[in-house]
């Protein structure tokens, strides 16, 4: 009897290692790409200013689209309907931020579907999308696809508007990494603008899961943000549990999945008084 239980336990343990076959068996102990390698060239400064001279504007934020998922369909038609319904209203967004996990398993076919979606947003609605890299995008060596398909083809970058700086971090491997943190420190210390930061993994969650697991680097990051005029942090990754957290001098909003929860967010930014107003919305 005891032997039988031992065998069943061993089989269950082995099965556990195969749960991520779809995402690449190699991912068990080697994740395919390395955050230090991906961010070795430092932060890319984009020349873009998607809001030009506007004083107040909206940003459409979506997270975890998971193109290619067999569990749910991406509700892009619902989003198009929503955008049609708010044309010429004050809710109209100036650009889009996608918080990562654009694809489900990092496969090229999934990136092609995702790119078609972004092209539709650009061509039909004039909305440019700024991408954040997520952990699912890196499955199956998907990083090679991400840097080919997702603008601006590097995961660690920033751009500036009149008064704000927008930072995009690479937390696709559940960590910020030593290189990226050092580059970020240098850049933020030389940039006096108020800042909005996008990251796939939330910097902090009150629970033990779905956030940066190494609390040491998380604390360093929070401290860096507090010292350098970060106003707002947005994160995804969690899917079904949006969370709003005050972290002293800045706040963090965690957005649930666009595909699994039919949600997105609008962030209203006022350049003149440097304020932000966040609204989570559900697609009908």
């Amino acid at each position: 009897m005891f032997k039988k239980i031992k065998y069943i336990f061993a089989i269950l343990l082995i099965c556990l290692f195969f749960t991520n076959c779809k995402y690449g068996f190699n991912n068990c102990f080697y994740y395919g790409s390395n955050v230090n390698e991906r961010t070795k060239n430092g932060i890319l400064h984009l020349d873009d200013n998607p809001v030009e001279t506007k004083n107040e504007y909206n940003i459409l934020i979506i997270a975890d689209t998971h193109f290619g998922s067999r569990w749910a369909d991406v509700p892009y038609k619902k989003l198009y309907n929503y955008l049609d319904s708010i044309k010429n209203t004050e809710d109209w967004p100036s650009f889009v931020i996608c918080l990562g996990d654009s694809t489900n398993a990092g496969e090229e076919s999934e990136f092609i579907l995702y790119t078609e979606f972004l092209q539709h947003l650009q061509n039909e609605y004039g909305l440019k999308t700024y991408n954040t890299i997520g952990n699912h995008d890196c499955y199956q060596f998907g990083w090679e696809n991400w840097k080919e398909y997702c603008y601006p083809y590097t995961p660690f970058y920033k751009f500036q508007t009149q008064n704000f700086s927008y930072y995009f971090l690479d937390t696709a491997t559940g960590t910020i990494g030593k290189n990226q943190l050092e580059h970020l420190k240098k850049d933020m210390q030389n940039d006096k603008n108020p800042k909005i930061v996008s990251s796939h993994y939330p910097i902090y969650t009150s629970t033990m899961l779905f956030c940066l697991g190494d609390s040491f680097e998380r604390n360093e990051l929070i401290s860096l943000f507090q010292q350098n005029n970060v106003k707002f942090v947005i994160g995804g990754h969690i899917h079904d549990r949006p969370e709003s957290i005050n972290l002293g001098t800045f706040s963090q909003e965690v957005i649930s999945s666009f595909t699994y929860e039919n949600t997105f967010a609008l962030l209203k930014v006022n350049e003149a008084n440097q304020s932000t107003q966040f609204t989570l919305k559900t697609l009908n």
Binding site: I176, Y204, F216, E220, Q226, T249
Partner: protein, 235 residues
């Protein structure tokens, strides 16, 4: 009725197995251990060389461990105590409490760990131990005096072999170590051995790989370190 039944069941079991539990304290063995480590793949906490010193008092049913670790820009202090019976000379089941304090210029972090430790030596050449615990992480960010809590858990499996007379290999798989308490589920794999030079002095070495986020099947090796240690039995 159900409550009464459970009460008498446990009371009866207590009497029945009382002789199997040995809570007696023995005169302590005292160990001192110094570790010197080098990080081959640096993470934010550990860069280049770092070292730690650790003392252990072993009263058989009571264990007390304390030590500190110094790395570039940060320091850790850890105190751990475990108490519980030896059961039928076959296994130890102990309640464990750990307090770890991490300090840097930017923040201070206290980790309070409450758990159960189990170890057994089914044969002369093999020892197995495991640890399951609840972690309360309390962080104070100095910049704004922001206090943030986290609730998490810790699991560890320890395998030690005594197949050779003086050379003992070991494999540890743990979601936290004595000085590092991650949020679930980062995993540290340590493979190494220690060699007994003379009766009370041994040297050891290990290779440790730390992975972050096994939970969302995105494990990424965030740190690789080589560790050498010297362990001395004072008494």
């Amino acid at each position: 009725m159900k409550k009464n039944f459970l009460f008498f069941f446990f009371l009866f079991s207590g009497f029945l197995f009382a002789n199997s539990f040995d809570f007696s304290l023995k005169s302590p063995s005292i160990f001192l251990r110094s570790d010197f480590s080098y990080s081959l793949l640096n993470n934010v906490k550990k860069t280049g060389f770092y070292s730690s010193t650790r003392g252990t008092l072993d009263f058989s049913t009571l264990n007390v461990d304390f030590g500190y670790q110094l790395a570039k820009g940060n320091s850790d202090f850890t105190f751990r105590t475990m108490y519980g019976p030896n059961i039928q000379n076959k296994m130890n089941l102990k309640f464990a409490f750990t307090l770890n304090h991490t300090n840097t210029i930017n923040f201070a972090e206290n980790n309070l760990v409450f758990g159960i430790h189990y170890d057994t030596q089914p044969s002369e050449i093999f020892k197995f131990a495991s640890h399951l615990a609840y972690l309360l992480k309390l962080t104070n960010i100095s910049t704004s005096n922001l206090k943030i809590p986290n609730h998490s858990m810790e699991i560890a499996l320890y395998f030690d072999w005594f197949a050779l007379e003086k050379l003992n290999p070991f494999l540890y798989v743990e979601t936290s170590s004595f000085f590092n308490h991650f949020l679930f589920c980062s995993v540290i794999f340590s493979l190494g051995c220690n060699y007994q030079i003379i009766e009370k002095l041994s040297l050891g070495t290990s290779l440790a790989v730390t992975y972050v986020d096994f939970f969302t099947v995105s494990p990424y090796h965030s740190e690789i370190s080589i560790n050498t240690f010297v362990k001395f039995q004072i008494r």
